[in-house]
Symmetry: C2
Subunit: 189 residues, 2 copies
C-alpha cells in the first residue's frame, strides 16, 4: 500500500529496541483519510472471505476497525483490556505485553461474538503476535470462526506472522517493516 509506506517513511520515527513510532498519523493523532484508505485495502485483502463482523482491541485498533466496518456495513466489536464493572458475563484471556512488560486481561462479551460469526480481526501493529494470540483464544472460546487478521503495520523481525500462520491464521499486513536499524526504516517492496 504505497500511500501508507510513503507516510511511514516520511513521518515514522524509530528508536532503539525495534520501536517504530507512528503517533502523528496512526495511534495518537490519526489521519481519518489514511484510515479510510486503510479500510479499503483491508476490504481488498479479505475480499474472498465471508466476514460478517469486525473485531479489534482498544484503543489504537478502533479507528481502522470502525472505518473498515463502516465501508463494509458490518458491526465492529472491540475487546477490552479489563472488564468494566457493568460487564458481568465475559470471555477472558491473559496477554503478555512486551512494550509494557506486564500481563493484562483481555475480555469480550459472548453476547457480541457467537458461533454464527465469521470475524475479521483488525489492529494497528503486528509485532510478536501476543495480542493476536489472545484474540484467537477469545474467538475460539466463543466458538466463532476467524476469517483472518489484518494489520496496518507488521514488524517482520519480531516474527508474529510465523506464530499466527502456524495456527492456520490468514495474515495480511499493509506495510511490512523488514528492519529498523541506525534510525533507518526498511519496508518490504
Amino acid at each position: 500500500m504505497k500511500l501508507l509506506k510513503e507516510r511511514i517513511l516520511q513521518d515514522g520515527k524509530c528508536y532503539e529496541g525495534g520501536i517504530l513510532k507512528v503517533d502523528s498519523f496512526i495511534n495518537h493523532q490519526m489521519d481519518p483519510w489514511l484510515m479510510k484508505a486503510i479500510g479499503i485495502e483491508f476490504i481488498r485483502r479479505f475480499a474472498t472471505t465471508n466476514v460478517n463482523k469486525i473485531i479489534t482491541i482498544e484503543a489504537s485498533g478502533i479507528a481502522p476497525a470502525i472505518m473498515t466496518g463502516y465501508l463494509m456495513d458490518l458491526p465492529v466489536v472491540f475487546a477490552k483490556k479489563k472488564p468494566p464493572c457493568t460487564m458481568k458475563n465475559y470471555l477472558s484471556t491473559t496477554v503478555h505485553s512486551f512494550t509494557k512488560d506486564r500481563e493484562y486481561e483481555m475480555v469480550i462479551s459472548p453476547e457480541f461474538i457467537t458461533p454464527d460469526d465469521n470475524v475479521l480481526f483488525i489492529d494497528d501493529f503486528l509485532a510478536y503476535g501476543n495480542t493476536a494470540m489472545g484474540i484467537l483464544d477469545l474467538v475460539e472460546q466463543a466458538g466463532a470462526n476467524l476469517v483472518g487478521m489484518g494489520f496496518i503495520i507488521e514488524k517482520e523481525f519480531q516474527n508474529g506472522r510465523i506464530l499466527l500462520e502456524s495456527k492456520g491464521v490468514k495474515v495480511e499486513s499493509l506495510a511490512i517493516i523488514e528492519s529498523i536499524s541506525n534510525r533507518l526504516i526498511k519496508i518490504k517492496e
Copy 2:
C-alpha cells in the same frame, strides 16, 4: 437526534445507580452507520465554530471522533489514560473516575495540540463531567482554544453540563437522559 433516541430506548439497558448500558451499539459493539449519523449531527451542532482538530479520549470516544474527523476532513487526537513508554514529553492531568472509583492519569502530546488549534472534544458519555474537566485542563495547558464539547449521551441528573457551562464551555449532547428509574429510561424531547 431521533435515530439515536429510538436506539437507546430499543437497545439500552439500565441498572441501579443511574447506569445506562449501550454496549450493543456504542461502546463495546459499535454500529458504524449510527456513528456516521452521529458525526453528521456533531457537524451540524458545531457548524458556526472554526474547529480545525477533533480531540477525544480512549477508548469509547475514538469511534465517534474518527467518524466526525473523517466527515470534516480534520485530524483526530485521542488523549491516553497512561503515557506509553515511547512518550517522553507530554501534558498530564489527573481525573477521578466515578464508575471505577479511582484516579487515573490522562496525557496528550503537546506536539499534536498547540496554541494554533481550535479543538472540538467528542466523547460517548457526559455524566459528572470529570473526564471533560481533565480535557479542559489539557487544552488550557497546551494553550489551545476549545470550541466546544459534543457528547453522544448526557446523563442530565449527574450535572456534568452545569460544571462545564460554569467554565464557559459550549456543550452539545445528542441524547439527554432525564432519569433512569424503575428500569425506565426517560429521554428529553
